[in-house]
Symmetry: C2
Subunit: 294 residues, 2 copies
């Protein structure tokens, strides 16, 4: 593996080599295991951007990139698409909106389809984020396209999870209470130039004050680049306290990777065929069946 011998700064300056390393890992090609064993991850916090569709996540990421790159910072974006082929439209739509970023020398954008890993954190997402971390970017953003398990996918990985909402999310206070409060390190109320934005932000602020450490609530209007500096400042402030969470995340990542390794010899297709046959027996019992695999 030629790549192993390059240190971080070379990787960073050579996006083609970085892309090749990521492709190696994404497709589990020969050499990927060696590559992963050689990387040294940096302290750069991984910033996750989640939220319901239509909240303006891509526009926000776009505005963040503009802001950061104008300050000479380097930024990597991993866009995770946990959905199906027929959702390609939305993926492409987002990518087109991000097209202006592709030519910037300090901005690297990569997509990853995690279809097949229904729910939870995929091994590929962990590995590719680690490769990006080894490349020494100043900022790493992980964003989801699509919905569903996206929050979960990112929460298990990001040092800082930003949950993007819009004034209209007021209807979903129950959902915010029951799921997103667990995940969010920072709430963003985007499209805050819309009616009801202040009222919603205030409701949210009251809600987050029920936690022992209140979650910051930042208002942005990403399409006008408003509030982005505030958000970046809040991220910087949060970064200093990231270490406690990182230990937990590291264990989660290790767990998932060990799990993948332990299961790698079991062929899911074959398992299904065998099960189909076995379950025709009226005496079939799933718990006896799996005994041969454990």
């Amino acid at each position: 593996m030629e790549l192993n011998k390059h240190n971080n700064s070379i990787l960073l300056k050579d996006f083609r080599k970085l892309a090749r390393a990521l492709t190696l890992v994404e497709n589990d090609l020969a050499g990927s295991a060696d590559l992963l064993k050689e990387i040294r991850t940096s302290d750069t916090p991984v910033i996750g951007i989640t939220g319901p569709p239509g909240a303006g996540k891509s526009t926000l990421v776009n505005a963040m990139i503009n802001h950061l790159s104008s300050q000479g910072k380097s930024i990597a974006v991993l866009a995770i698409d946990p959905t199906s082929p027929f959702n390609l439209g939305s993926l492409l739509g987002d990518r087109v909106r991000m097209a202006e970023q592709f030519n910037k020398p300090n901005v690297y954008i990569r997509s990853l389809a995690t279809r097949g890993s229904l729910g939870g954190l995929s091994g590929k997402t962990i590995e590719m984020t680690d490769v990006l971390q080894s490349a020494g970017f100043d900022y790493i953003l992980v964003e989801t396209v699509g919905v569903g398990q996206s929050e979960v996918e990112i929460a298990g990985l990001a040092d800082i999870s930003i949950v993007v909402l819009v004034p209209e999310s007021g209807d979903e206070i129950q959902s915010i209470k029951s799921g997103l409060m667990e995940i969010a390190d920072i709430f963003v109320v985007n499209k805050s130039d819309r009616e009801g934005a202040d009222a919603f932000a205030n409701t949210l602020k009251k809600l987050v004050h029920q936690k022992s450490v209140p979650i910051p609530v930042i208002k942005t209007a990403a399409h006008r680049s408003e509030g982005i500096e505030n958000l970046i400042n809040e991220i910087e402030k949060y970064s200093s306290g990231v270490n406690v969470k990182r230990a937990f995340l590291l264990a989660e990542k290790a767990w998932k990777l060990i799990q993948n390794h332990k299961m790698k010899d079991i062929d899911k297709k074959k398992l299904q065929i065998n099960l189909e046959k076995a379950s025709r027996n009226p005496e079939f019992n799933l718990y006896r069946f799996i005994e041969t695999f454990i």
Copy 2:
């Protein structure tokens, strides 16, 4: 295990024994492995009820129970709560709404907190549903309380997945397109007495016709018990075609259970402590670290 010797009908008629069997399995107590190896699961399809908070899932389940039990059918409900202790309010709220069901002799309701299994299908959910299946109910409903990974949790388990929406879900067409279409076997537009219900149902119908086999869209107003009979009929119709999906689900379940077994000797807490120590070394590499476990 005394329980093993009882056949299904005895389990069904004795809710106390059923409850004890479920508790055994839920807490992985001595005898639970033996119990699972002795059960014979029935053909009763498992009906999953998912959807965003506020869609009226509990009210719908309530109405379904009323309808079915008035026809002399027996029904088991497993309410899955994938969220946190501080969400207990919403759980209790739902349970209170269901209180009228608790005294019916043919209705068995059980809650299961799956916190800790962030995303995906938990082993406990699989095992407890299998125990309920062995008890010979006419209908088994699995419902989620809370949000987030709920759809995923149930989709990996239910023979029939019912996704409950409301007329206001029109704003979330994108989310329906990108996630729920994959999961839903039947769409319910609940609260269909509200404004915009017909328009939304029609949009949804157009959407589902893009699939090779269109997904049925049923309008209900569960709080008035409207549309419930239609829904039950649609479930019955669907049940006859359930077998293809069941082979796939069985493989998913087996996979998850094998995974749990393979990981059972790894102590997550200890892993975290060891990782915390190891990662202080500047030469630390996660992929070399996990080699000792695989």
